[in-house]
């Protein structure tokens, strides 16, 4: 018996005949380390899966930010500007997202039922200090957010991607924004002008 064979047994990776052979062996093994060893193997596997999931989330998030940068490159054309900007990207049908601001209200509407949109509000310094809502706005829904008077938020809308589901991806966005000139060209809505 080898450690690797036991690992494959507890992870359910053995063919039936070999599995039974190992099952018989473990039933007859009374070493006190056997149970903890197998449990540790399962925990390692669970940690690996969690790491992979986090890695995938990170990759999705970076991809999201890259797309946002591309969007900013075409920013002036993409956003019609003013109080009712329409967001368009080269890879996404137009118009996808309608962002309307009236007073302190920001309304986001999604026109394509196949897409999801996440909306983030950043402060005047470009820091993403709020994530509203903490998840995507589902397609074909309109969501309204109220921002405080005097705030100078930027509406960040991401579409057409596997959106991040982490409860708090704000830190990572902040890091990217700090390292980027993207903030400078972000479309900004100023409630004072509204």
């Amino acid at each position: 018996m080898t450690e690797d064979r036991l690992r494959r047994w507890v992870l359910g990776q053995l063919p039936p005949d070999e599995r039974r052979e190992v099952s018989r062996w473990v039933v007859r093994c009374t070493d006190p380390d056997l149970g903890p060893l197998l449990a540790g193997m399962l925990h390692e596997e669970a940690e690996n899966r969690a790491d992979e999931a986090l890695g995938a989330l990170g990759r999705a998030w970076r991809s999201l930010v890259e797309q946002w940068r591309a969007l900013l490159d075409a920013g002036e054309a993409g956003w019609s500007g003013g109080l009712s900007p329409t967001l368009a990207t080269s890879g996404v049908p137009t118009p996808v997202v309608q962002v309307t601001t009236v007073g302190t209200r920001v309304t986001v509407e999604v026109s394509d039922t196949h897409l999801e949109v996440a909306v983030y509000l950043t402060d005047d310094a470009g820091r993403c200090d709020r994530l509203i809502p903490p998840g995507p706005v589902h397609a074909a829904e309109a969501s309204e957010f109220v921002v405080s008077v005097g705030a100078r938020p930027t509406v960040w809308a991401f579409t057409g991607l596997a959106l991040p589901r982490a409860s708090d991806p704000v830190d990572e966005l902040n890091e990217v924004l700090r390292a980027s000139d993207a903030t400078r060209s972000a479309v900004r809505w100023d409630p004072a002008q509204g």
Partner: protein
């Protein structure tokens, strides 16, 4: 009746095969985590089957360090689940709703390493909860079903002990591990069925 002090090789092989089969079944119908927990719960009883007293290799310390030590009550849960499978006592739960709820809550696959290793605290996520109306109903029915399985296991242990051979004594010992008094906490029961005089 005089008891033989050792199992014959044939008895040992037969018993090992039965137990190994139930072990695989339990891991498939619950989660892989139950396997190691069952091994920890039954080490003393398995001495009678054992031919391997020590692992033939030095286990990697990283694995042993990853093991959680605060899982003792789940060993009892694993032992109960294994005994239920091995002794096939679910069929002795006469009420079909109770039996179905117990199967849904305790004998339906779920991810390993997802505490509390049972649906007892998160009934709303239990497979098949919709067919019971509410999670509370499912939990209540599952408790009733679990109670009946413990009663059946206790009867089975008594029957095996009454047989009077070492072969049955070893079986009874393994069944007893699956219906210990400590189960009352992990199954959230108010009381366990009493041991009948034997």
């Amino acid at each position: 009746m005089e008891m033989s002090l050792e199992l014959t090789e044939q008895e040992r092989d037969h018993l090992t095969e039965e137990i190994a089969s139930a072990l695989e079944q339990m891991m498939d119908l619950t989660c892989a985590e139950m396997g190691p927990l069952w091994l920890e719960a039954t080490r003393q009883q398995r001495v009678h089957l054992g031919t391997v007293n020590e692992l033939p290799f030095r286990p990697s310390p990283k694995y042993l360090a990853l093991n959680k030590s605060s899982r003792s009550k789940y060993r009892g849960l694993a032992a109960w689940r294994h005994a239920v499978m091995w002794q096939d006592v679910l069929v002795e739960v006469a009420d079909g709703d109770y039996r179905a709820a117990t199967e849904a809550m305790y004998f339906t696959p779920y991810p390993a390493n997802e505490p509390p290793y049972a649906w007892s605290r998160s009934g709303e996520r239990a497979p098949g909860v919709a067919s019971f109306g509410t999670a509370t109903t499912l939990k209540d029915y599952a408790k009733e079903g679990a109670w009946h399985t413990v009663a059946a296991l206790r009867r089975r242990a008594r029957e095996l002990e009454a047989n009077g051979s070492w072969h049955f004594e070893v079986r009874a010992g393994l069944v007893r591990v699956g219906c210990r008094d400590s189960l009352v906490d992990v199954l959230k029961l108010e009381a366990l069925p009493p041991w009948e005089d034997g």
